[in-house]
Amino acid sequence: MNNFFVPSNIRPSCRAGLMLLASAALAGTLAIAGCSKSNNATSSAASGKKMYTICLLPKEKDIPYFTSCAAGARAAAKQLGDVKLIYDGPVHGAATKAAAMIHKWTLQGVNVIAVSPNDPDVLAPAMKRALKKGVHVITWDADGLPGTRQYFVNQASARRIGYTLMDTLAKDIGPHPKGPIAIITATLTAANQNAWIHFIKIRLKKYPGLKLVSIQPSHDDQRRAFQITQHLLQAYPNLKGIIAVSSAAFPGAAEAIKQAGQSGKVQITGLSTPDDMRAYVLNGTVKSVILWNTHALGALTIRVAEALASGKLKPGQKTFNAGPLGIKKIVGHQVLLGPLMVFNKKNIGKYHF
């Protein structure tokens, strides 16, 4: 019962060295753990004021859109003063991981969980359980299933987004727009995108000269959007415009138009962040970029959450006072953020997110 391992010829001095290396690795690991700031939900504020722990869950952590929402949320938490904000989400957007986080926060007994559900079906059991345990649950950016949340902080109605996209493209093409146009979407089953496309099609009737010839999925992949746009340009040589309804598809499509030398001849508009589109706006490929104010979306979410936890927001209220963000309308269970922003050559330099 002596030798667990098959013997080989390694000198004892090597062993000491390896042990040292192993301890160093362990120490390094612990150091990383120790350095990271603790933001545990159970720790309380020193001031003695009642603190509300609010957890903000994005669809996917570490992508620019959600990072900029989080920046707005942090600023709002600071202004309010009675909010302890926890911002965390799955790094690769796995819905089961998001569900586990909601479950964990429920066990910790936080006050509010604000969810942007990447898969409403998968998250529904965890959200329902949180509500049952007395945790306030709201959704933001995308809605959950009925019965899983108390409020939905909605950046803009699908109608407004669809109409604005169509009107903007028509305006960018010029007076009396005429010719074929195409849409590049995320996936053919994406709920948000399909709702927007539905309203784009309704608004299209206002422009009898324009004809929607193709709707292509990009799978939220910039390279794929680039290739699809190249194919579209070849298949429809007189293509007049493209609407990219996915923030990943928009820069890819714009790059394809630029490389094909079609800047200015084929108009493109869509939803994306100013940072991702600045170069294309400045070089003239893109005239208008449309998005809601992501900072304000994060901030409004935190303000609604805080009001819900402290009892300031009561059921049946028709408006909500969001402090510096102004008075927001409440329609049913939805708190509406308000108008969309249109970024163009004149104003895009002022926005950084």
Binding site: F4, D62, A94, D119
Partner: protein, 344 residues
């Protein structure tokens, strides 16, 4: 092999130096180095350190209610780790467990939504898992393709089929009675937990006492020699891969019950979590070495580390960094220990 070598059934390698070990030289250090359970002891020490630290900074984390509540994410990996351990002991690997889960889940949901009773849908899911595993087994045992290649192919193929027959859609809305199997405790533990404990106990007995267990180590050590000694290597492999598939089918049911949704992306990346836990638990990836105590320690250490980091720091990025650091530490310690043994 006689009954006196009971422990060596877990460590056949221990026989190699029989008779020379203690006689080779005196000294406490050398006797310490020849202790066969070092790896398990180190994992246990690390686990105790972690839990002590966790208890001091976040006492709430150690509450039984919290631990049981969080354990949802442990059992799935644990269930699959048992057959995976035995497969790796023979020198094989099964990369397709996550995809098998996904296919079983989709088959379950489609059977149910097409009007079959719940029990039949459950049977269909487990049978699908079994069939997937059997297919792997046929290729590995009879066609004799390397398991890495076979299961790499089925890793892609099973998920592809799952995506195809479900058209990428999620299927939700199962009866509350079914969802309860993942949300309600029996005698203070999830049903999945009890299933794992029973399976682990049985596996431990088989590995230590039954010929099947010894044959596993023999195959892992030298498959040719094992076959010439009359060990039914092909049949055993066929059995192991089928078992792995069946476990994936069962795990899929619990996973679907937890989120009330069956979708083709279920179990994505599961194979790596399972293999990591098994290898971290001291099972040699080349086969023939390792034991169930180590695997359970490995599972617990990885799981507690992950859950504690998430509990305390709410930082998903940090988890992979620290788990990675832990794995490197364990590998270095293993190498150091092996070097120590040879110093005798």
């Amino acid at each position: 092999m006689t009954a006196t070598n009971g422990m060596n059934a877990l460590h056949p390698a221990g026989n190699k130096n029989h008779g020379t070990g203690p006689a080779a030289g005196p000294g406490a250090l050398k006797r310490l180095a020849s202790f066969p359970w070092w790896h398990e002891v180190i994992l246990a020490i690390l686990l105790i350190c972690l839990l002590t630290y966790a208890g001091s900074v976040a006492p709430m984390f150690l509450r039984p209610g919290v631990q049981i509540g969080l354990s949802d994410r442990l059992w799935n990996v644990a269930l699959l780790a048992l057959p995976m351990m035995m497969i790796i002991l023979t020198g094989g690997i099964d990369l397709s467990v996550g995809s098998t889960m996904s296919l079983s889940a989709v088959v379950f949901a489609l059977t149910f939504t097409h009007g079959a009773p719940l029990w039949l849908a459950c049977v269909a899911a487990v049978a699908t898992g079994l069939a997937c595993g059997f297919l792997n087994g046929i290729f590995v045992a009879w066609v004799r393709v390397h398991p890495l290649i076979v299961t790499l192919a089925t890793l892609a193929a099973f998920r592809g089929v799952a995506e195809g027959i479900s058209l990428g859609r999620g299927i939700s809305g199962f009866p509350p009675g079914f969802q309860a199997i993942a949300h309600h405790n029996i005698l203070g533990l999830r049903p999945e937990g009890w299933l794992f404990i029973a399976a682990a106990a049985y596996t431990a007995i088989v590995l230590a006492k039954a010929p099947f267990g010894r044959y596993l180590y023999a195959i892992g050590h030298n498959e040719m020699a094992a076959r010439y000694s009359g060990i039914p290597t092909a049949k055993m492999k066929l059995f192991l891969y089928s078992l792995s598939g069946m476990a994936a089918g069962a795990a899929a049911l619990f996973a679907v019950a937890r989120v009330d949704t069956a979708r083709a992306n279920l179990g994505y990346g599961m194979e790596l979590k399972v293999i990591t836990a098994v290898v971290f638990g001291g099972v040699s990836i080349f086969g023939g070495r390792g034991n169930i105590v180590g695997v359970i320690m490995g599972l617990l250490l990885i799981y507690e580390t992950r859950e504690f980091i998430s509990w305390q720091w709410n930082n998903d990025n940090l988890i992979s960094i620290i788990i990675g650091g832990l794995l490197i530490t364990s590998v270095l310690l293993q190498v150091a220990l092996r070097a120590g043994k040879t110093a005798q």
